[in-house]
Amino acid sequence: MKSGSKLEKVLSEGKFAVTGELGPPRGTNPDAIKEKAQYLKGMVDSVNITDNQTAVVRMASWAASSLLIQEGLEPNYQMVCRDRNRIAMQSDILGAYALGIRNILCLSGDHQLFGNHPKSKKVFDIDSTQLISMVRKMRDEGTFQNGQEITDPPKMFIGAASNPFGQPYEFRVHRLAKKIEAGADFIQTQCIYNMERFREFIKQANDMGLTEKVYILAGVTPMKALGMARYMQKNVPGMDVPDWVIKRLEGVEKKKQAEEGIKICCEQIEEFKEMKGIAGVHVMAIEWEQRVPEIVEKAGLLPRP
């Protein structure tokens, strides 16, 4: 075991993993985390704690992760390259590990233009692939990025993201390969709706032998309503929502759209359970944590190990 995290254990035992997501509050109240955590307890193996997602200031990801541990859940600590240089990043990783955090997801981060401080100065001292290399080096070589020895190095289970739906399509699987080479142990994908394109992507990854080197968790986000689906189709960068999703939500009355959204999500999970090269699912129920128990139950993912 590289880190001894629960997520690593579930995946290395060949069990189908389930991860969830929780956004820290825009304030100091720890109860906001406790409340959301209730819904996820016993439902998922690990919970992604976002790092100032969409570039909006929120409670520090490591602090929210630590609060989650107090609730008896395992965090997957997200870190983006937008706001910190390599000194701050490594320092935060040391602190996170000392607080009991064992999983880390390495991301580029949404551009600050989308957030609530659009004219802030970006950092991007290193990119997401370089961040993966750095965390791997800290764990496996026991040194900082500069080669200096760490006393009691942090042993993280290293995650990365992959978006099969962004241009240039042909390059996406190669970018995945680079992240694996850099040291990613697991991958969580962008929310999947275009199953056809995703099947093709996974086939490429299988053919290149990548799925033998890394655990891929397929990302799903249940649609709450037709409006959300339309918004995501038009306005969310990197998102590919095909027309069939819109049509299915249009086909039911407004009150039943949420139910239909969850149904679509569960059907996708059923397919992922059988899909070669897929090791689990990442359920991103955005500000909809209370519906996660229903989704994992309906998708036949309970009980969790």
Binding site: C81, R82, R86, S108, G109, D110, H111, L113, F114, K122, F124, D125, I126, D127, S128, T129, Q130, S133, M134, Q145, A161, S162, N163, G166, Q167, P168, E170, F171, H174, R175, A177, K178, E181, A182, Q190, P237, G238
Partner: protein, 226 residues
């Protein structure tokens, strides 16, 4: 070349508040090419300022003089016997030229009349675009002549982020994703191998004040110790 834009009249007016005799100095270098701070722009600005000062009854006398380049002391020397009577100087050169002017006349308040924007190209008349961040460690040979530091909104080195909208950058649909462009160009040239390898964490070369001292001139400035 360096691209700059003239500041707003209001901002310039505010800076010059309280001074009675001002010399606006132009620069015949980059800022003249991008129509921001050459002789013509100096005269334009002065005309506008005179109108405003007259309208508002502010007794400021403003004159002009444009030198070949403000980033060279030999050209700034032309101002030596002109600046005397002025109680403030204004520079329409880039930030470097403006500082060199201030360095030559340390007793005179110096004010910038332009904002220095970027190192860029002339797309067409009056249309300039950034191309270079002067990072001091050029990767254009690897990236097909397209700079990820200047052209990618996140300055990524290992491929596109998850965000491109079609082939556009996520932050601006009018701007092509630098990494989509890099991919296409390298693919066309059969050089995709360049970006399939991990580009390792770089050591930033632009974190201290830049300085170049050519080998063949070193002996002029550094006394050898015997």
């Amino acid at each position: 070349m360096i691209k700059a834009e003239v500041k707003s009249l209001d901002e310039i007016k505010e800076m010059l508040k309280g001074y009675r005799k001002v010399l606006n100095t132009g620069c015949g270098g980059c800022v003249s090419v991008c129509l921001a701070g050459g002789q013509k722009e100096v005269n334009n600005l002065n005309t506008k300022l005179k109108v405003v000062f007259k309208q508002e009854n502010i007794p400021v006398e403003i004159d002009s003089f444009t030198v070949e380049r403000q980033c060279e002391q030999q050209f700034l020397a032309e101002l030596d016997h002109i600046v005397g009577p002025y109680d403030a100087l204004m520079s329409m050169a880039c930030g470097a030229g403006c500082q060199f002017l201030a360095e030559r006349y340390p007793d005179k308040p110096v004010f910038p009349a332009v904002d220095t924007e970027f190192i860029g190209v002339n797309k067409d008349i009056g249309w300039y675009e950034e191309r270079c961040k002067a990072c001091g460690d050029c990767v254009l040979g690897i990236t097909g002549g397209i700079c990820p530091v200047a052209m990618c909104a996140k300055g990524l080195f290992n491929g596109p982020c998850g965000g491109p909208q079609g082939e556009s950058c996520e932050v601006d649909k009018e701007v092509p994703c630098a990494w989509v462009s890099i991919y296409k160009r390298l693919k066309g040239q059969g050089r995709l191998d360049n970006i399939l390898k991990i580009y390792a964490t770089r050591e930033w070369e632009d974190q201290l004040q830049g300085k170049i001292l050519l080998e063949q001139y070193k002996s002029r400035y550094i006394q050898e110790t015997k």
